[in-house]
Structure formats: C-alpha cells, structure tokens
Symmetry: C2
Subunit: 366 residues, 2 copies
Amino acid sequence: MIPLVITLSLASRSYPIYVGQHLLTKHNILLPYLSSKQIMIVTQENIASLYLPILKAALADYPCDVMYLPNGEQYKNIEQWQGILEKLIEQRHERNTTLIALGGGIVGDMTGFAAACYLRGVNFIQIPTTLIAQVDAAIGGKTAINHASGKNMIGAFYQPRCVIADIDFLQTLSAREYRAGLAEVVKYGLIQDADFFQWLEANMALLLSKDESALLYAVHKSASIKANFVSQDEKEQGLRSLLNLGHTFGHALEVANHYEGILHGEAVAVGIIMASFLSMQLGWISSSDHQRIQALFDKIGCMKNLPALPLPSDFIRFMQHDKKVEAGKVHFILLKGIGQAIKTSVVTDQQLKQTIEWAADLMVNV
Amino acid sequence: MIPLVITLSLASRSYPIYVGQHLLTKHNILLPYLSSKQIMIVTQENIASLYLPILKAALADYPCDVMYLPNGEQYKNIEQWQGILEKLIEQRHERNTTLIALGGGIVGDMTGFAAACYLRGVNFIQIPTTLIAQVDAAIGGKTAINHASGKNMIGAFYQPRCVIADIDFLQTLSAREYRAGLAEVVKYGLIQDADFFQWLEANMALLLSKDESALLYAVHKSASIKANFVSQDEKEQGLRSLLNLGHTFGHALEVANHYEGILHGEAVAVGIIMASFLSMQLGWISSSDHQRIQALFDKIGCMKNLPALPLPSDFIRFMQHDKKVEAGKVHFILLKGIGQAIKTSVVTDQQLKQTIEWAADLMVNV
C-alpha cells in the first residue's frame, strides 16, 4: 500500500506527514527532505538497537553522526539538550545540516528544540517510533524541554520538514507505552469527532491487538485532526489549546512525580477522566457520557499501577505552575459533550477539590 | 522633535524602530507594545544606575521584575541565559508577559533569546543603550548566546515588538564603546551607501563629539539600512549576509581572545580593514579606496590597545568554526567598491595568510 499523506498547511512552512508501513525500506521518502549530506540522528539505545540499521540503510550514501539520549522524561532537561548542541559543534555541523529524531516524544521534543536553536535554526525531520509521538508529539512543531517546576517550560514553535509515521515501529512498543498512546488517540475523538470516539469504542479490542488496518486508520485519523488544528492556530492563540484536554491535570501529575513512574499518556488519561468528571459536575455532559468515557479508558487499561494522586492542595499548587495559567487563573479544557471540547476557567475551588478526591479514590481501585 | 520611525516590514511581525531623544520621558511610546501588566526588565548594574529610574517612571503603573546580567561578552553564555529563565519561572511570568532589554547588544541578545524560548515565546521590547545596539544588534531579531568554540552558536530568529533607540543614552557611553559602535556605522556606508560613507568622512569629528544632529542622522540612516536588509531576508538566506562585512575575521578575533580585551565593534573594525585589504589584493578595490577606509577607522581610533592578532594558522582555525562555513569552506563578505559588498569564497590560503600578517603588523603600529 502506498503511504497515506496528510499535509500540514502553514504557508511556506507546510510539510507532509506520511502514515504507512515499510516507509523507510520500500519507499524512499526521506531523501527529498535532507538539505545536505550532513546528518545527525538523535535517538535512544533501545530504539537504535531495533531501528537504527533500517534508517542507516535508507541513508546509505550519507555519513551520519548518531547521538544517544537516556530514556525517561526526567532526562528531557537542559543538560541533555546542551549535549546535543555540544555534539553538533564538536562534529562541525553547518547551517544546512539535518537533524533526524528517531524515537518517541522525548527524542522528538529535544531534537526539535536543538534544531530550533543550533545556529539559529537548522533543518529537522521527525521519525516517531511510539504511538503517542505518531499521533501527537511529532506533529505541529511544539518542541521543548522540562524544568523541575513545570513541563515544557522552555522551548520553541519550530516545524519539521516532514514527519514519517510508520506503524510497523509500533509492533515492538511495550504494552504499557502502547496503551498510554491510545489515551491521546481517544482524546481526538473526545475533542471534536464523536464518530471517531464511537469507532474507538467498537474497535478497541482490535486496536489493542495491534491489528494493522485498525492502527493505520486510528493513526491517520488522529494525525489528520492534529494537523488540522495546527494549520488553523500554529502558536496556540486559541483553537489549538483544545488539544490540551486532560493536560492541565496531567502535567501537574507528571511534575508531582518528578516525571517518574507515570508516562505522559497515562497522566493524560487520568487528566481526561478528571476533565470528564468535572464537566459532569458542571452539568455539561451526562452521567452516561461520563461512564462511556471512563469505560473506554478502563478497556485501554492505562491507569493501573500508577502512583497515588497528590493531596488536593499540592495538586492545585502544581497546576498553578503550568504554562496554561492566565492572569493567575488556571484554565481547563472541558467537555460540552463527546466530540465537543471548550476552554474555560469557571471552576470553583470546591469543584476542583471534589474532582481530585474522586480521582484519588478511583486510582486506588482500578 | 517628534521621534523618527522606521518600519521593519515582516508581514504580521512588522514592528517600528523609534529613533530620537527623550523617548521614555516626553513620549509615551512604550505602553502600546506591552501585552499585559507583567514585565521583566533585563539590564546590567551600570546601565540600571543611569537609566532604570527613567524606564520605571515610564512604567509607573506596572509592577516590574528586574534581572541583572554581569558585564562582558564572556557572560553571554548558557548559564546566564538559564538564569533569566529561572527568574521568569520563579516569579511566575505567564505567556502574555513582556521582557524589556535595557542595555547593549549582550543584554538584547540574551533577553531576546530568553523571550524566544520561555513558554515557547513571549513578547519582548528592545531599548538599546549603546551605539552598536541602536544601529545593529537590537534590530532584526537575531538573538543568541555564545559557545566557547564560536560566537552566537546557539540562538533564534525572534523579532521584538518594537525598538526604542534614544540617542540621549549615548551621552554617558564610554569613549571606547562609542568608538567601537562607530565601526558598525561605517559598515553600512561600505556595504551599500557610498554617499553615507562620504558623509561619515566629512562629519566624523562632529560624530566623535556626540553632536546630537549628526548622531540622529547617523543612527537613523544606519537603522534604516539594517531594517531594509532584514525586511528582504529575515533568515539570512542571501542578501542579509552582506551585513556580516568584517565579521568572519572579527568573530575569530573575539573567540581567540575568549571575548575579553576586545569589544565586538573593535573586532569588526579590524575585520573590515582586513576585508578591505583582501579586496584590494584581489584587485576589486583600488589602493586609494583602501586608504580611505583605513583613514576613516584611524580617525575613529577604535583599533588602539587591542590584543595582538593570533598567528595565521590559529586565526584560520578560529574562522573555520564560525557559523558562516558552508561545505567546509569559509565565506567572506568583501568589497567591489565603497558602497558595494559581495559574498565570496574565492580566497586562496596564501591571500588569507598575507592579509592576517598585514593586519598583525598594522595592529602593532596603530
């Protein structure tokens, strides 16, 4: 099958997102996006052992430097980012070099931010190898590193030249990472596509078995929705913020745990059911819609064995440090229905506290 | 007199450059460019003691955080940049905050790069207080920090919302910094405006005495030429590179001296007469044009008491680490006449060596 192509439209910075199988082997789609013979691949040991040979074979005529990052969100920091820059300087990479991110969201975010800043910006390509990166992180040019007091506090909007999302990579992804990625897939249905949400309810068993046709559909659908949001609002001045459903809660959870013991997708899953509960409390969605949402996440099973929730007072403090604070007020993306997200700050402290207590109980019992 | 305004045209990111006197006191031009009540002023102790009260008075209704950077190009580094970001996080600056750079090129470059990266980009304003910053560094959105092995290796193209160039600030500028700034003014004449070069030859004594009319004319003319180049080629893919006349040599000199004992403008002055000598060697400019250029820099007197030049082999090694290397080849901006710069790499090692040796002799004797 020929690869599916989604165009992310941003005038002169538009770029294609390829979704398919055997993209690096059968299809020679990488080469037109290189800007010279100079290349640095940024990856991680575990990914490299599986997929670096395939990428290097696709780049047979190109000498490539390879830089390895450690595993774990706690290493998405300024020191590791500086390490990429040091290596580029050491190896004398020039303005027309290309950085290739081969890995998950952490690799993509850090490589993109290094590409944004090296010599004031060089070419880069995203080859996401996790589900969460293929449907979300690798698309849309948000690059960043974390700070101890907040996620993605330092970064840039910097678009890649292309994104190559090969679902074959997902066959070796751990069950835990795969399930965490499905949380972001569900997010797209909840935000603006009730039909897709219904499809996910009907086909979750197939998706969990990594059925190729189901996966191709889900990745293509998710990437299309994401690309569409980004095309309309690259810098997140309005519409794009809806993509943060579950993220205000989720980021606070990640920060509270120092980015350890909980994957980003898992934190987002918890955040989404909290947003759903809060929406129900506000009378915006029915109890049966809330049940459907919770049931789908139960089926995915991405909320088991997570760290306990912080106390409400701590949880709220962590949320206030997030990027999404405006005039001292925390903003939430909540639901007016399945397939209909909105941004709001009309949440009382009491409602917030109840939501956190409800989620804390739930987490003990999943 | 009402302020002169130059518009730097970059579609939705266009912005005004104000040139004049009493800009913060008599004219309330700052306020429309603030995006909320949150402000962080980044400056240095010596500048703050002179001008921070004026700026704070202009912002009487706004609570301002103030961050101080140490003096000296050797502190334009990743640690100090990180310090600005830490302070923004600590003081809980939000997405709609405004950073104001009050100072010379170092303050402007670092503040701009911090603004580019904090929460993926916040609003910033340039208030340049040195001549070099008013005519060059504060205009055009080049922001960066240095790396031990090269100047401005890490940075971003990130435009301010406005530039406020008040020539009153220049009255307290040290003679040394002022003369170094005049080197960049001369640069604009050499690159594309022979009439301006001739005006500078005729009026250098007035300029050296900081005559207000002469200064207004020179700053406005220089800023206009700079803005015009940037409007045509923001990301330096062609035309804008002509502004680097003297900079390939100059950056190497700065790196060789670890950014100490030589100001940027002084290094550029040496770099420009080296470019002039090399252009004469290539038969591109006459010996009398070269003499005119050297004579004008002698009049400015910005090449006295500088560190000795490195040996040619070291000098060339430092140049090869510069950003302007393409396919391993060093590129030079040279002159085809006064008012006519071009980019070239047709320079032999022998010609380069002779130029360095000539300049080394010259520096001993100025």
